[in-house]
């Protein structure tokens, strides 16, 4: 930027586009401290948020792994538990089959009381008429009951204690039964079969029979049926069944039914974390058991209100949408199950779900634990939320802090600019005052040491300049006064010499005239004339001698008083006093009251000038800069009185010197103070002995 300068008479005004100090300080603060601080703080905040994100994702990952591992562990454990229970039941089924074969090979005939429970229907078939706390039996299909059929019933009655013992040994077992190829059924607990339309049933067509026949179970092992609706108990069930072979003849199939609900209920007895639940899926992908929480996820409802009157005649299996292989939302789980016996997978069941599964080896079922992902990650999410809240709080705190900090910095910039700019402006004003020779005003001071020194140095310099100027003016006045006095003396000398010339030339003319008369008329002059002329010459010479003596006397007087002291010659004290006062006192402070003329002898004038000069110097040195100085001059035939009034104190070396001076001139000086004003009265007599 190139400033332009305009020069007035005394002031130099600089017009530039320079920024004010406050703005410069503000920019400096921003550049030097604030912006780096802000960048660093924001950088830390970004790092904090990135860290929080990383921590969150790592937490989520860890929690996910932990939860999967946990669920997988539970699935393993519970699958093993179920497997053990099913193995136990399968084992019991196997024993039951062996016991049944043994009973068929035996010749047991039950007591009469037992035999009396069995009634033969005229249209075919047989059934137990009442419950005696043991098994129920019936022959279905309009079977004509002959001797061999009755003997088989009596032989199988031997199984009742075993059957009851097995049933009571395991709470999972809902019923235990034996079905024969000719549709005989012996079952415990007792079922009132007369209430059902069972007599026309052909048992081998039911899955709990045919799945153990030669075709479906060539190994003749214990097998598990698919889930089905129990025709008697109205519940979803599975059965552990085993064939009873006598040679190559399949006599029948023993079975132990367990309701899936009991297995699931046992699973649910343990409290699963994260609102998780367990479900059981068979090896065909059909959901065997699903708790209430699962029904909501899968949009399914267990089919417990099935119309059994209608379906009793055939197998009742779960519909297709219970099969995970047929569902779109469970396809990842189905694929995972096909890929391995255990694993974990993420499902979308109206929300993210984590699923872990393990295989129940006895049946090939899959035990699946499912939990909502958001519940699993809830703690991590809460931690993240808290960290985010802390982050926002930090951001808000940071913003608040910086707003406060900005305000403080702006305030400091203003203060600093005032601290610097105001003294600089005051210093500039002082410099202008020096240039304009204005009245001295004190420097108000600065907190900046250099400016403080500069300001006071300027004030001192200005005072020195003013003092020097006053001194120069005083010297000028003195010199001028001396010049005036010298001119007056010179004038007096010229006058004196003119007077002397006149006074001497006159007697010389007498002498010369007489001499010329004598020369011209020597022959004609008489002795008396000559004597008379000689006397005239001597008288004239004596007069000249006397005149010379007087001249010496006058020179002596002149030498003593510094002036000729010619009687009758006077100076104007008013003029001299006015000039002196105007030379020493600034015009805006001076109140001068003098008569137009005030005759004074040169001696008195000199004394009065010296005294008044000392008094005025005292006043100007010790009065306030804005106070008024009044000077009044009073003339009388015998006395001249000068009165100086100001707020300077009375006393001091200058007044002492003035006192000595005025007393030496036969005058006096008196002072008086009242109401903050001091009046100094100088009295000088108008005539002195030396002049006379």
């Amino acid at each position: 930027m190139k400033p332009t300068t305009s020069v007035s008479k005394r002031k130099v005004t600089i017009v530039s586009q320079a920024a004010p100090l406050r703005k410069l300080l503000w920019r400096s603060y921003l550049r030097m401290s604030l912006i780096p601080l802000l960048v660093i703080e924001l950088g830390f905040l970004v790092i904090y948020w990135v860290s929080e994100r990383v921590v969150y994702h790592q937490n989520t990952e860890v929690i996910s792994k932990l939860s999967q591992t946990y669920f997988l562990d539970i699935a393993h454990r519970e699958a093993a538990t179920i497997n053990a229970k099913l193995q136990s039941i399968a084992s019991q089924t196997n024993i039951f089959a062996l016991q049944t074969r043994g009973a068929l090979d035996g010749d047991y005939v039950p007591p009469a009381a037992e035999r009396s429970r069995y009634l033969i229907r005229p249209s075919g078939g047989l059934y137990t008429a009442f419950d005696n706390g043991t098994t129920a039996s019936f022959y279905a299909g309009g079977k004509i009951i002959g001797r061999s059929e009755l003997e088989k019933v009596w032989r199988l009655a031997a199984l009742d204690p075993f059957i009851m013992a097995v049933k009571h040994s395991n709470p999972l077992i809902s019923s235990i039964y034996f079905n024969t190829y000719d549709s005989y059924n012996r079952i415990y607990p007792y079922v009132d079969l007369t209430e059902q339309h069972t007599f026309d049933a052909i048992i081998p067509i039911y899955n709990f029979y045919y799945e153990a026949d030669e075709k479906h179970n060539p190994e003749r092992a214990v097998v598990w049926t698919d889930a089905y609706v129990d025709p008697a108990g109205h519940e979803w069930m599975v059965s552990s069944i085993a064939p009873v072979w006598r040679g190559d003849k399949l006599e029948g199939v023993v079975g132990i039914d367990i309701t899936l609900k009991r297995i699931i209920d046992e699973l649910l007895d343990q409290e699963l974390p994260w609102s998780g639940y367990a479900m059981l899926i068979d090896n065909n992908g059909v959901i065997l058991a699903l708790p209430d929480a699962g029904e909501k996820d899968f949009g399914l409802s267990e089919l417990t209100d099935h119309d059994y009157n209608k379906t009793i005649m055939e197998d009742t299996h779960k519909p297709n949408h219970f099969n995970i292989n047929a569902r779109k939302d469970t396809r990842p789980l189905a694929e995972a199950m096909q890929a391995g016996d255990e694993g974990e997978v993420e499902l979308n069941l109206g929300g993210a779900r984590l699923a872990s599964f393990a295989t129940v080896r006895e049946t090939g079922w899959r035990l699946v634990f499912i939990a909502p992902a958001d519940m699993i990650y809830a703690e991590s999410q809460r931690l993240r939320d808290r960290l985010e809240t802390v982050g926002y709080f930090m951001l808000a705190t940071l913003l608040g802090f910086y707003l406060l900090f900005f305000a403080c910095l702006m305030w400091r910039a203003r203060t600093m600019s005032r601290l610097i700019a105001e003294p600089i402006a005051e210093i500039a004003e002082l410099i202008d005052q020096i240039a304009d020779r204005q009245v001295s005003t004190p420097f108000r001071g600065s907190q900046v040491q250099e400016l403080e020194k500069l300001g006071h140095h300027l004030v001192t310099t200005r005072q020195m300049l003013l003092a020097a100027e006053d001194e120069a003016r005083r010297h000028s006045f003195i010199a001028n006064d001396a010049l005036v006095q010298m001119r007056a003396v010179n004038s007096e000398m010229i006058t004196f010499m003119r007077y002397i010339s006149h006074e001497i030339r006159t007697p010389l003319s007498i002498i010369d005239g007489s001499a010329q008369i004598i020369q011209r008329k020597a022959e004609s002059l008489r002795p008396d004339d000559l004597r008379e002329r000689a006397g005239r010459l001597r008288t004239t010479v004596a007069a000249i001698a006397e005149m010379l003596s007087q001249i010496l006397v006058r020179f002596d007087a002149f030498d003593m008083n510094g002036t000729s002291g010619q009687e009758g010659e006077r100076l104007n004290a008013s003029t001299k006093m006015s000039a002196l006062a105007e030379a020493l006192i600034p015009s805006d402070r001076l109140r001068l009251s003098v008569p137009e003329t005030c005759p004074i002898g040169t001696v008195e004038s000199g004394a009065l000038t010296e005294v008044l000069q000392d008094v005025l110097e005292h006043v100007i040195s010790h009065s306030t800069t804005d106070s008024t100085v009044e000077i009044a001059l009073d003339c009388s035939p015998l006395l001249i009185t000068a009165i100086v009034t100001s707020n300077a104190y009375e006393g001091g070396s200058l007044l002492d010197r003035a006192r000595k001076t005025v007393e030496g001139a036969g005058g006096q000086i008196a002072s008086d103070s009242a109401f903050g004003l001091t009046t100094i009265k100088i009295t000088v007599p108008t005539s002195c002995k030396g002049v006379d």
């Binding site: 003119r498 006074e503 030339r505 010369d512 010329q516 008329k521 005239r536 004239t540």
Partner: protein
């Protein structure tokens, strides 16, 4: 034969006035004496001298006032020569007096021979005047 010229001598110092009168009379001039300004002005009006010799410092008035009074009386001719004889020798006084016109300024003591020569020249050629210092 023409009547000798009449000269008015204005001098307050009696010795000088007497010597001057002797010298002038010895040279054939008629002399009218005056010891102060007032009597000089009066004598000039009565006697109408052909020349005036006048001192500057007179007891009653300045010689310049006497000359101006003579000039006022002599307004018609304005040619009566005046020889001012003064013990003051300063140039300022000389200029003041010569400014009056038809005036010759001489500083005391006076060489009578030269004064007589000057008088003769003034009276021979009216209006002529010369500086004799």
């Amino acid at each position: 034969m023409a009547e000798p010229a009449k000269i008015l001598v204005v001098e307050d110092t009696a010795e000088l006035r007497e010597d001057l009168t002797i010298v002038l009379q010895d040279s054939g001039y008629r002399v009218v004496e005056a010891g102060d300004g007032a009597s000089a002005i009066a004598a000039f009006g009565q006697e109408r001298p052909g020349l005036v010799i006048c001192d500057v410092q007179l007891p009653d008035m300045d010689g310049r006032i006497v000359i101006e009074a003579i000039r006022s009386v002599d307004a018609a001719r304005y040619s009566t020569p005046v020889i001012v004889v003064s013990a003051f020798s300063d140039e300022e006084l000389r200029r003041d007096i010569e400014a009056i016109g038809t005036v010759i300024f001489i500083v005391k003591p006076v060489d009578y021979a030269r004064l007589l020569l000057l008088i003769a020249q003034c009276l021979q050629v009216p209006g002529h005047h010369a500086n004799i210092s």
